[in-house]
Each structure stands twice: as structure tokens, then as C-alpha cells.
Amino acid sequence: MAELKVTAIREGTVIDHIPAGKGLKVIEILRLNRPNGGVLLLASNVHSGKLGRKDIVKIEGKFLSEEEVNKIALIAPTATVNIVRDYRVAEKFKVEIPDEITGILRCANPNCVSNHEYTVSKFYVVSREPLKVRCHYCERTMEEEDILGNL
């Protein structure tokens, strides 16, 4: 049924099983909404056996870097990534929150040195459910809401 709503892509990436409502955030953090990008499709509130409702993002002509996959994991831990070549799923995997998150998240502590000096930010995952990370520099713990606001 989903096929009727969303065109298949020839080559690129399909991010499936995104929690409903988080699809736009995925697009935003991957900066896919740039004018010179390829074709981008978002399906929102699609029926899902696993999640009830889910979002799906399809990106023509783009394959994700490891860093991008890690970003997705932080906001959509249930997501699966499908790599499509010649209209077929060539590879499929679940995103996974890594033990260390490097470079993709800003520290929420305004007095943290990482917000004032040139550094590559780094966080350690303290807990995945609920998501909690600790800043390598200031050692403060950030929870989900702070994490989403600082991606």
C-alpha cells in the first residue's frame, strides 16, 4: 500500500521505521532539504505493524556516512536504513546508538569549554533507554530533550 503513496527510487537510501513525527527532524539534521540535493520524499504517519505509525524518508542518489547514521540513531533509534541500488534493496541494517558520539552534538552547558574553544565535541552514552549522554569535557549529563535541541 505504501508503494502507492511513495515512488520507488532507483538508487539511494530509504530510512524506514522512523517514529511518527520525527521524519522532518531526520531531514533537518541530515540537511537534506538543500536546494541542490537529489529527490527527497517524506511519508508521514504511515501504518506500521511494529510502531503503529511511522515515518519514511527516501533520498535519491545519496548514501549515508557513518556519522549521519549515528545522528539518525539519536533521534530515531528504531529506524532501519535500506540502501537501494537499481530499484532493489542491496543492504539493510538497523541504526544503533554508538558508545561515543563525536562531532554531531553540541553541549547544552553554556559554560562548557567546548562551546567557547575549538574542539570536536564528544559524548559518552550513559544510557540508551532513556537516552542519556555525558559530555567528555564538562562531564555534565544531557537527556533526550537537550540532545534533540543540540543536534
Partner: protein
Amino acid sequence: MEWKGRDVISVRDFSKEDIEFVLKVAERLEEELKEKGSLDYAKGKILATLFFEPSTRTRLSFESAMHRLGGSVIGFSSASSTSVKKGESLADTIKTVEQYSDVIVIRHSMEGAARLAAEVAEIPVINAGDGSNQHPTQTLLDLYTIKRAFGRIDGLTIGLLGDLKYGRTVHSLAEALAFYDVELYLISPGLLRMPKHIVEELREKGVRIHETTDLEGTIPELDVLYVTRIQRERFPDEQEYLKVKGSYQVNCAVLKNAKESLRIMHPLPRVDEIHPEVDRTEHALYFRQVFSGVPVRMALLGLTLGVLEGV
């Protein structure tokens, strides 16, 4: 664990074995110092003390430790006297200063500044306080003081009194004490209780914890009473400060039901949390605690410099 070249940034980086090792080396240095008057392990070595934020006591303690080890000291005691004022980055300051020295001690108002300095520098960096985050040498000297006074840390009942909410010192001390078999009484005004996540973490590590507002009722149980100042500058709200200001004062009347062996500690400076009449009693351990900073810092400087093979 290889100590030469190691950074001392956070109590989190230490294992119980690391802590015990530092305390043991400090003890040997203290004995040796008593015997010989001065030592020369760090002869020819230079310590740079970079105090971007002033803290005279901590700086003097490090300087004294380096001199007693036979080394020398350079540095500054406020950011306004350096090129930081001209907009130089912390990283550049560190890379410059390490050309002049063998070990760096840094104090900075920003959290994480010491960690960043350690990443930038090739030489060892010791954190002397980064904002409200860590002050690991204070924690080590607190443990050392307890160990010297009682010969052990295991089996003691320790009360932490005062501002347990904002007090950086008591947070790291409590975390380090979790390595030992201790019973903790957390004594504070309701508004200044130890943060829940720290209490939970301590309980998970098997520390027996009692939270109370009652100092006099708790005193008879304690071997150590660790007093902290309620620091006005840490309060986001002046009204909140006024409500708890002067909540507790340790004086001879409060101490009448204490064990004879009770020892009182305080990271100093104090305001009115401990009455000066307590100074003359056997209970007062806080000036001895200040002294402990020297052998502990000597141990850390010597170990990270890699000059203590003979100890």
C-alpha cells in the same frame, strides 16, 4: 598504570588502585620530607601554574609541593595579566607554555578546560579546578587526610554537612568514598540536599546512606564530620541563599555528644560554619588537611613527571 606523562583531570578517571597508589606515595614522601627537610626528585624540572581564575591557596599548595620536590615554578595568577586578554585561545596558551615547562597545573572558570588543555599538551596537565566540574587533587588530599588520621578509610562513618547540592568538593569526595566500605550521613538543609542522581549512584555502589537535616542527633554516630561552606556565589537565587545561610554551626556545645575520636574536616576557607573554639580541640583536623595538600600534590607532580622511581 603508567604514571609518567599521565594527566590528572577528573576523579572519574581514577580506579581504587590509582587512588591507593597516590596515597601510598604521598605518605612515603611525607615521611621522607620529615627526615630530610627537602627533596630533590624534581630538580631541574619546571611547573607552570596557569591560574586563569584566582585561587591563592590552591596555587600556593602546588607551588610549595613543587619547591619541596626540588623543582621550580613559573606561572600567572589571573587571566587579566596574560595574552588571553588579547583574545588568545586556551589551546594556544597551553601550546606556548608547554615550551617553557615540564608539567602544567591549570585552574579555569570553564568546565572542561582542563580536559581540553590535557588534549592539547604533550606534557602532563593537572586540573586545579575547572568551573563547577572537578577538583581532583582536593578529593585525593581529603582521602589522604582521613587515611592518615585513622590509618584506614574502610569501616568509617562519615558525615557530609552543609551545601550538598552545589558543593563540588562533597560530590567528588562522596564518589571517591564509594570505592570504600563506608557509611555516609548526608546532613543538609532540605533545599541543599545531595542531587538525587548522586545518591542513587552511591546506593548502587553499595554505600549505606542516611539523609538528614539533624546535625546534633547525628554527631554521636560519626568518625568524620566533613563541613562545607554554603557559598553565596553558587546560588542562582539570592532568596534561596538567605533561607539556608547559617543553617549549621559546629561549636563545642554541638560536639558534646561526639565520639572522642571524631575528626572534623573542612576544605576551607570557612566563614562561620565552624566556631574558632573548635580549633583548640582534638577534633579539629582542617589545618592538618591543608597540610595534606602538599604531600599529595608532591606525589602527583612527581609521578606524572616520572621522577619518583626511587620512592
